[in-house]
Each structure stands twice: as C-alpha cells, then as structure tokens.
Symmetry: none
Subunit: 204 residues, 4 copies
C-alpha cells in the first residue's frame, strides 16, 4: 500500500503542485467542499495521478499541513534572527516582528480555521499542529536566551505572547470588526508584550 515516492524531478514537482494547490483549495473552500477532481484540475493533473502519490484525499491535507507548519516556523525563526533583539528599542523590534508576521500569515487564516476542525478527521493533524506550537515556543525561547533576554517562566510567557500576536494577526487579516481601531489595538499589543519582557528583566 506504500505509495510511490517520486524520484524524477518532474514527478516531485508534480507531487508538490498537488500538495500546494490542494492545500490551498482546501483552506479556501473547506476540506469537504473540495473534491479530488477540483484538486486535480487546479494542479493541472489527472485524478488518477493523485492516487499514485497519496493514499487518499486526507493525505494531501496532511502533507499540506506539514509543509504549511514548516513554512510558518521557518519564516518566524528567520524574522526573529534578522531582528536585532535587545532591550533598548524593544518596542520598535516588536512592531517589526508583528508586521512581518501579518505579512507572512496572510494566507493562513483559512488554513488555521480549517485545521483546527480537521482533528475530527484525523488525530494526526491535531497532533502535528500541537507539536509544532510547542516546538515554536521552545525555539523562540532559545533565541531570546541567546540574545540575553532571559525571562522567568519564559516558556509560558512566550506561549502567551505567541497567542496574542496570532490573535492580532487574525484581526488584521479577517475580522475587521467595526468599532475596533486596529492601529490602536496593535499599539496596545506592543505595549503589553513589551511590558511582559521588561518586567522580567527588571525583576532580576
């Protein structure tokens, strides 16, 4: 039952195209509203070939999820590494990070939504997701440490901070609540995060 692992360059490209286009479609329309024919058409291949690379429709989603999460992680890490992290201009730094986050996450709100519901389909999916969150938390904690921003209860704090930023991203990308001023919201978020970090360092 093991599916072919393509070694030819053309084949690899084809498989990746199926994953990319398929995952995007699924995120846009929902898993159950996306047929294998849709995916095939979008990827420019025949239905048949899909089943040479994947066991079933669900597999496409899973592969997509893995890629998606890897990308987000890498981009995040890159962003953090490129910022000159230190206590001085911390607010500006946080703002830069947030801006890049928003930029990077634009496509992903739908993915996010869809994925959390997909745990009903496959426990693997929610596990992948959960694991990645943890990994992310730890990596970021490491980066902060190596920049001498060591915090008490760092893991927990970082986790909270990630949550705050993701929420903000979602607001920017999707919600567009009237009555909420997003510039202000961003400013408040920065202030909050900044104080969470400063407080720590002050405490020492």
């Amino acid at each position: 039952m093991k599916k072919r692992t393509p070694t030819q360059k053309r084949s690899i490209e084809k498989k990746n195209k199926i994953i990319d286009k398929g995952f995007n479609l699924i995120c846009k329309q929902g898993y159950y509203n996306t047929t294998t024919n849709d995916i095939a058409k979008e990827a420019g291949v025949s239905v048949g070939i899909i089943y040479q690379y994947f066991n079933d429709k669900k597999d496409i989603l899973i592969e997509g999820v893995k890629n998606y999460i890897n990308n987000i992680q890498n981009q995040t890490i890159t962003i953090l590494n490129n910022e000159n992290l230190n206590k001085k201009n911390i607010n500006k730094t946080i703002e830069n990070i947030i801006d890049k986050f928003i930029e990077t996450h634009t496509i992903s709100k739908e993915a996010h939504e869809e994925l959390s519901a997909m745990s009903h389909i496959d426990k693997n999916i929610s596990k992948i997701y959960k694991d990645s969150e943890l990994e992310m938390t730890e990596k970021i904690t490491q980066i902060l440490k190596s920049n001498n921003i060591e915090i008490e209860n760092n893991k927990e704090k970082v986790h909270i901070i990630i949550g705050i930023i993701e929420n903000l991203c979602h607001e920017f990308i999707y919600h567009k609540h009237k009555n909420i001023d997003y510039k202000i919201m961003k400013k408040e978020v920065i202030k909050t995060i900044s104080s969470m970090i400063k407080e720590v360092n002050d405490e020492r």
Copy 2:
C-alpha cells in the same frame, strides 16, 4: 418554502431537542461526519420531521451556533456581574473570572474548533461569531466602566484580554502541552491582564 414555526409546546420542545442534540453531535463528530439520520436518532425523532422545522441540515447548525453563543455571552456577563469588580484585589478577581471561564467553556471545546471552520459553509456562521465577539467586547467594556474601571483604548484592550483568556481556556481544556506548566501560565496571564488594567488607571 418557509418552514413551520411551531407554536404547540410539544413541538417547540421537539425543535429545541433537535437543535441541542444536533449541535452537540456536530461539535463532537464534525459537521460532515454527522448525518441527519444521526441527529434524528439522537433527538428521538424521525428524519422527516427535521425538514418541517429546518430548511436543511445547515440550519440546525446555525440555530445551534446562535444558542451556543448566547449561552456563553450570558454566562460571561453573569460571571462579571457577580464579581465585585474594583481595583483593590484585582488579581484575585481576575483569577475568579478565569476559573469560571474555564468551567463554562469546558463543554464547548469541540464547538469552538468546529465553528471556526464552518464559516466555509455559511457566511452567516462566521458573521454570527464575529458579531458576538464584538458585542461581548462592548458589553464588558460597559461593565468595567460602570465599575469605574475606565481604560484608555478600552475596547481594544478588552478585545486583547478576551483573546488572552480564551487562549488560556483552550490550553487548559485540551492542548495539554507537555513542558508547559499551566499553573504558571495562568499566573502570568493574571499578571499581564492586571498590568494592562492597572497601567491604564495609573496613567490617568
């Protein structure tokens, strides 16, 4: 094609049972993994009757969502109203609120997951959800105001705070990341929220 609005007491009960049992099933198993037959059986009625009260399967979900959100809102408001809100023992107050939130949200973890993805089915659902968040933000802002806790950029801050608390709830209810100490996380959340409020009042 307008569906009958039941006036008989027995009928109303029947309709409500369909909504309740149906919504629960959907949240537990996912919308697409729940058939109308499942719902009928769970509600103890025939499939046919469902289509006398609802236009289609989606309608059951929408009604369920409305109920669910109303409940959450009411419970939240009740919690806030019952707390003696003031600046003194603000930390204890926040903790109480969080505890009650967790308690209230426990049942609905799956609902949450499922709903966010359901916006693909029906724009109404995401609208209901979004609207409710906003309404909630405003109501809470009001409550705070009437307790003399008036904050600069209150709407935005409240929005952020609600997000932080919801994230924490989710953590408590099912993520259970190893390596994260949830007691500490809660403590940090309280500290953060508290400072967001204090800061405000201090600023004045």
Copy 3:
C-alpha cells in the same frame, strides 16, 4: 453497521426482488460485469435502497447463493420423496429423477459456474456451497435408507451419483458437444447408477 431488516410486507418484497433479480443478473453476466446500478434498475428500485438492506454488493450475491441452494435442495428432496423408490422399476425411477433434475437446474448452470469462481471473493461463498453438497448427500442417503435401499458406503456412492447427474445436467443444458449423443449418454448414466445401487443390494 447492521443493515435494516425490513418487517413491512412491501419492504420484504423489495428486498427479495433485489436478491432475485440481482442474483440472476450476476449469474448471467458475471459478478464483475454487473453494476449495482444494473441491479437497481433490474429490480426497479434506486441504488440507495440496496444499501439499506445489504452491506455491499457482495451481500446480494451471498443472499442469492443461499436462496439458490435452498431451492435446489428442496426441489431435489421433493422429487425424491414423490418418486416411489424401490428396486423393481429402478431404471424408470432414475430416469424420472434425471428428467426433473434437468428441468429444475436449467437456470443454474451459470450460477454454478459463477459461484465456484466467487470463492476468490469470499470464503463464505465456497463454504456455503460445500456445506450444502454435504447436506444434500446425507439427506438423500437418508431417503434411500428409509426406502430400504441401503447401500454399503452409501455416502460416498451417493456423492458420486450426484456428481454424475450434475454433469449430465450440464451437458443437456449447455455444452451440446457435437458428436456426443445425449440420449445415449443419458441411457448410459442410468445404467451406471442403476448398477451402483443394484450391486450393493445384490452383494448382501
């Protein structure tokens, strides 16, 4: 996964019609050349209803096999019971039996062929078939006994005799080998069987 067992008269009729028409089609065209849509059309029902009464296509075949075998058995027993079995006019008796066999088995050559290959699909099918052969052998042996035609090694002999008659039936119904004179063949079969029985009784 248990499928509905219909209790309503109309439903039972419908289920039986699916089995009958389905089994006939399968025997005529082969299992894999018969689609569920074919069966539905032939039975005058919708595809959907098939899956309310049967787990899958294979089930229809199995139910059909059971019915078929029961029928053959009952008819055979009836034939034997109605014949006045004794040693005197044994040849005439055997001829009568053979004639009725041919009459009864007319439809079944295809069934026969198809069934033996179906053991590849489902071990149950070959088991049902095998079991029935044995049961038949034993029942016939009983009938002979109760008519005072008791034979040494009766079970084995009866088994052989059944085989000979079945082969003859097939010849009559299908093969139509040129160069073979079927009247003569029948005569020879009668002679052989007759001597198998006589010999026995003479031996005593």
Copy 4:
C-alpha cells in the same frame, strides 16, 4: 492493431513469462482481483510491454487457458499411453490413472474454478474449454480402441468416466468434506468405472 509477434528469442521468453505468471496470478486471485500491474511486476516487465504482445488483459488469460489445456491434455495422453491397458488387471490400471490425474491436477484447482466463470468474459474461453473436452474424449476413445478395449457407446461412456474422475480429483484436491471417506470414494469410483468397461466387453 495486430500485436507484434516476437521473433527474437528473448522476446518470446518474455511473452511466455507474462502468460505463465499472469495466468498463475489470475488463477490464484481471480481475474478481476489481478491488475495488469500485478502481472507486470510478477513477470518482471513493465506494464507498457504487455500491450506490445497482447491486445488487452483478457488476451493474457486466453493464452494462458490455451497453454493450460494443452498441458493437461498432453499429460493425460502420456499417462494413458504409459499404462499397459488391458482387461486383466483393469482395476489397478484405473487406480494408477486416477492417482496420476490427481497429481497432475493439483496445481490447477484454482484454474479450474476461475475458468468456468470466465466464459462470461469471453465466449472464446468457454469454447476452448468445451472443445478440449471433446477432443480429449475422442483421443481417449482412440487409445482404448487401439488397446482393444472397444466399448459400445464408447464416446458417451468415456465422457461420463472423465466426468467422474474429474469430480473425484476435485474432491481430493480441495473440497475435503468431512464425513466423506475419500479412500472409500476412490474405491467406489474405480469399481464403477471398471464395471462400465467390463460390462461392455462382457456384452459382446
């Protein structure tokens, strides 16, 4: 669309391998449970090459059937020729023949099952099968004649005898009915055949 007839030795070997391995697989698993990919893999060739030697999947089966029947025929004839056929120790002779039949047919039990159903696929197959039976009957009749065992209605009798022996083979090979003693069954078969032949000669 005439397919290439390979003249190169290597090619001929390849074609034969496809037939052999393909036919075996089909007999083991059933025609419809065997894919052309299975056959290609088993034969150690690519799928594409199959369609250079055969018009379609069915063709492989047909070629296989032809080979199979030729083999059976040749082996049978050989067996008969090697026996020293005469009236004296006829019983021992028959037993030898039966034993060798069983031996020869052992491999082909599945082939037998599958083939009889395959007439639904292609009328050729049943024709090949039918023709071979007749040819066999005639050849055996000839052999008997040339050994001075000439029987009244010989063709018909030989046909019946072949049937009896084949049934016995099947019993030996896989039915394995409990309650049936196969040694006794064999003994009875020998007795029956023997008497069919003797009777004839006695009659003269």
